[in-house]
Symmetry: C2
Subunit: 246 residues, 2 copies
């Protein structure tokens, strides 16, 4: 990680600066609840304008790493505010953030005509063709965490093979690298349900155990739906974190 800003880098300067500061925070160089250098000091140190410094800090404030106090300074958020922030993440990233090794067992995979309810969530016309369906048991450190069924809207003619997914592990990475589709926004609902005998067997819990049900519609950069995903999480192993603001 360099600690100067390269004006010729393909990343914008404010983004580079945010990365540098995030790194310095992670290194413990700035302690929790302690101030980081002032905006004018950072402006001079990294040879960028104050607006650029502020853009970088804005980003880190939104991500929960820093907070500002008018007339006092900009401070490092206490540890607990740094993680579990409500961000759009794949199951893979989610597990890594929790310090668990992500894993999966692919149960089914292939093109299907989406059920009516799913078709609507995918915002597809009634006469739409087939979409990619994947059913997976999701593991954290090798232990069942949840049961995931997902539907993907891929560009005309495109698909993902079982081999690709097994090699890479993350659909999101394939979407990004192969189709240049970047998940940028999502609507998610969470509710409670209980396990059917089939679900219970896969998750290795008694039938009727409580589960956390997440349903999510994910949108790409250009605002089109790319995914509808349903995850049944084991109630005893999964907890959802959010950071709320007003």
């Amino acid at each position: 990680m360099p600690d100067t800003i390269d004006p010729n880098d393909f990343l914008p300067r404010y983004y580079q600066l945010a990365n540098i500061l995030r790194e310095r925070i992670a290194n413990g160089e700035f302690a929790a609840r302690q101030p980081i250098p002032s905006e004018r000091q950072l402006e001079e140190r990294y040879a960028v304008s104050r607006i650029t410094v502020r853009q970088a800090i804005d980003l880190l404030v939104r991500q929960g790493f820093l907070y500002r106090e008018h007339g006092r300074g900009t401070f490092v958020s206490p540890q607990k505010l740094q993680k579990g922030i409500s961000e759009l993440t794949s199951f893979t990233e989610d597990m890594k953030q929790r310090g668990l090794e992500p894993g999966q067992r692919i149960l089914q995979m292939g093109p299907v005509r989406p059920p009516e309810k799913v078709r609507q969530r995918l915002e597809l016309p009634e006469d739409c063709g087939e979409v990619l369906y994947i059913e997976r048991l999701r593991l954290g450190d090798g232990v069942p965490m949840g049961l995931q069924t997902s539907y993907y809207v891929l560009p005309e003619g495109g698909t993902i093979t079982r081999e690709e997914l097994e090699a890479c592990g993350s659909v999101y990475r394939i979407l990004q690298e192969k189709f240049h589709l970047i998940p940028t926004e999502a609507d998610e609902t969470l509710e409670v349900t209980v396990a059917t005998p089939q679900e219970a067997a896969l998750l290795q819990i008694p039938a009727g155990s409580p589960l956390l049900l997440s349903e999510r519609t994910t949108y790409s950069q250009d605002r089109r739906v790319i995914e509808f995903v349903k995850i049944l999480y084991r109630g005893d192993r999964y907890r959802y974190y959010a950071r709320l603001t007003r």
Copy 2:
């Protein structure tokens, strides 16, 4: 709602502009998925600089009203993205947003020494005094929705009486009006649990029914903890909604 920006208003210009644009969207003046005027047009129309226009648009994008497309324009979000945004709300506000009439039955209320686990969540020293404890059955349109137990850290000597709460209905409003404490940020976790016989009786469901458990620590403007609140929601009546970004 004025239609021009008053430089002498106590509200910053970008904030005034955001209010004007939000109003124009609400009026249907700009339709969903249709572009609003370009940044340079807004700059001229409202006699502010482009950076100010961008600050206003940034705000509305974060609030979910608009989205940008590079090289194309700034567009109005489809309806469903405009509501249900993951915001810090009280139970009262939450119910209103869902179109239900909030209600409550106060079960217990008064000063207590917080249990160890709660004391830590409130970030109080070991030798702290008493905090305000409130246990309430929460209703939506008169029907039990959840069971809420909450602890409040009030300024030295301050308290809230049962009469005040019954008259006003919302602790948040009392906090704001009486103590000038404004909830601005919170950490929330959601998980699944099952109802004990006592909880089940109050919520009018069978014992062992699945529940959604929310635990939240709420912070005021000055970053101090004001509240730790635990709500057990009926699994069959409550659904949590979030909008995720990346």
